[in-house]
């Protein structure tokens, strides 16, 4: 048992180091932190915080995918899994270690992003956030982590089921584009086709709007958007329904009120990841990985 936990950590540690020192990761982080900085900076010129969150919501999932997509498939294809398995490690130790290592990297990503955002705000407004804002920021960080974890899990899942890195990456990118980027537009098209109304039928689009909001629930971006800033979608071209509580950063409501309103969104985000991870486990454990 002790050795098992040891092995999981050994593998997780290696996965973390591999990720952090990989040029791919550095490039993605550089670009992404740059974007976060510039969006936050723009707040000074009348842009709202929602833009910074939208950047995270749309682009950060790519980092989640990038951290997961080659986790298993690369080891299998390079035959390093073949060697690893001749040592006293259980298969589930291997995948657990990999997931854990990737999650550690993800936590680092979220931390850096939040640090950049707060740092930038600090430069702009010149004052330190008070304690309540810090705890809200912390919860916002957890939300962001859970949201990105969904995409990490998608990456891990495709890395288990596909035969090559490029296939896995393709699946991941398709998932990302559909769930985060063009999602709002897709929803609108479906709603238009189904109801026969459109956004521009000013007087009678109740049915259209209801269907749109229902469909939005299908993407993790909806749950993240709701819980973080109280809007129903953040993908490009989406129709937004504004909630009364503007998410976790809305200081006019207590955190208790926030939790009462949005706990379901948080649970959904966590459940999607858990389901994907369990599926990845089950498939990996049954796979003939020696070929």
């Amino acid at each position: 048992m002790k050795q098992n936990i040891n092995n999981i950590f050994t593998i997780a540690q290696k996965e973390f180091a591999d990720n952090v020192w990989s040029p791919r990761f550095a490039v993605l982080m550089f670009i992404f932190l740059g974007i976060s900085f510039s969006y936050t900076y723009k707040i000074k010129f009348g842009s709202s915080f929602i833009d910074a969150v939208q950047t995270i919501a749309i682009f950060a999932p790519a980092i989640g995918i990038a951290l997961g997509f080659d986790a298993v498939v690369k080891e299998r294809r390079r035959n390093s899994l073949n060697v690893l398995l001749t040592h006293p490690v259980f298969r589930d130790n291997i995948i657990t270690g990999k997931i854990l290592g990737a999650m550690m990297t993800l936590a680092l990503v979220v931390f850096l992003v939040i640090a950049v955002i707060t740092g930038t705000s600090l430069i702009i407004s010149g004052k330190l956030a008070n304690f309540s804002e810090l705890s809200r920021l912390f919860i916002f960080g957890i939300l962001t982590f859970l949201y990105l974890l969904v995409f990490l899990s998608i990456g891990i899942f495709t890395s288990v089921i596909t035969k090559s890195e490029i296939n896995s990456l393709t699946c991941g990118i398709i998932a990302w584009l559909n769930l985060c980027v063009v999602f709002g537009a897709t929803v609108m098209i479906i709603a238009t086709v189904v109801t026969g109304y459109s956004l521009f039928d000013m007087d009678d689009n109740q049915q259209f709007r209801e269907l749109t909001y229902d469909l939005q629930k299908l993407s993790p971006i909806h749950h993240y958007a709701e819980a973080s800033i109280g809007v129903s979608d953040l993908s490009m071209g989406s129709i937004i329904n504004q909630e009364t509580i503007k998410g976790v950063l809305d200081t006019s409501y207590t955190l208790g009120e926030w939790a009462g309103e949005f706990w379901e969104n948080v649970v959904v985000l966590a459940v999607i990841s858990i389901v994907l991870i369990i599926l990845s486990y089950l498939i990996f454990l049954r796979q003939d990985i020696t070929r």
Partner: protein, 313 residues
């Protein structure tokens, strides 16, 4: 002698209806300290056998024990006391040899200080002393095989499984690899189970050889025993020179002996293929026909031919 590896009717089949029988009722024993060569052509079932022995594949039927541990139920125990050089094998290109080996070392309960020492020691042992801090990604095939051996030795195993340890490396490198393996067996008493495509390659270091073809173990024994087996089955080829009598006449007389399978007259003398025990009778017949035997040699069959005969090619 204590048995370190034993299998009983070990069988593995693949495919939806188990139509591909990769290993068929394999029964064998390997004793402690022995170097056992597992020889067979491509697709014979060597790798599949090894995978079952180290618990990477579950047998379809039959059973086996390695170091006394059951190959299905005590897989982790087996891996703790064995070292494996699998084929194919891959490592982490972005890490150095030292970092790679350290990683494998961490999977065992070894003190950090001992581990670091062992890592360097092993890399030197396999001839990678100059490349300890080089990235594995830049290693040649030969260097990778050497690293593979180091990696297999990280837990000071009492049993080594080496799948084609010399394939893909140059003759000198292959020789060094063989020397390393036989030293390990001699100095540390390690039991070695190694596979190869070629008899000539393993005869030098193996105490015993098992020949496998199409999943079946065809023959087991020392090189000499295997030679004998072929002789037993197919007869021995002799070179005979006779004086005082025309070769043609001798040939005619010999052909009448039941235990002589074929006779062929050539410039160098008479070549014949006969049963193993027919030597006396042949000499007798020559003498009775009025000739004198001036030369009578059993030809030593070269190993590759022994192998080909055994696998029925």
């Amino acid at each position: 002698m204590e048995t370190m590896i034993e299998t009983d009717g070990l069988t593995k089949s693949f495919g939806k209806e188990n139509e591909i029988v990769a290993v068929d009722s394999l029964t064998l024993q390997v004793g402690a300290g022995e170097i056992f060569g597992f020889v067979g052509p491509n697709g014979a079932g060597k790798t599949t056998t090894m995978k079952m022995l180290i618990g990477l594949l579950e047998p379809s039927s039959g059973s086996g024990r390695v170091a006394g541990f059951d190959i299905v139920r005590e897989v982790i125990r087996i891996r703790e006391v064995t070292g494996v050089l699998p084929e194919p094998a891959g490592y982490y290109d972005n890490l150095t040899a030292r970092q790679n080996l350290r990683f494998y070392g961490k999977l065992y309960d070894i003190e950090e200080k001992d581990r670091e020492e062992r890592v360097v020691e092993l890399l030197k042992l396999v001839g990678l002393g100059h490349a300890i801090d080089q990235k594995i990604g830049g290693f040649s095939t030969g260097m990778l095989k050497r690293f593979g051996l180091a990696q297999a030795l990280i837990n000071e195993p009492s049993i080594l499984f080496l799948d084609e340890p010399t394939s893909g490396i140059d003759p000198l490198g292959a020789q060094e690899m063989r020397d390393l393996v036989s030293n390990l067996s001699r100095d540390r008493g390690v039991t070695v189970f190694l596979s190869s495509h070629s008899m000539t390659e393993v005869e030098e270091i193996c105490d015993r050889i098992g020949v496998i073809s199409k999943g079946r173990l065809i023959a087991v024994g020392t090189v000499e025993e295997l030679r004998d087996m072929v002789r037993e089955k197919e007869g021995v080829s002799y070179l005979l020179e006779v004086s005082g009598l025309a070769a043609k006449e001798v040939a005619l007389a010999l052909e009448r002996i039941g235990r002589v399978h074929s006779v062929e007259v050539s410039d160098g003398g008479i070549r014949l293929l006969a049963d193993k025990g027919a030597r006396m009778e042949i000499a007798e017949v020559v003498k009775r026909s009025g000739g004198a035997v001036t030369r009578f040699e059993g030809e030593r069959m070269d190993l590759q031919r022994v192998f080909l005969r055994l696998i029925g090619a």
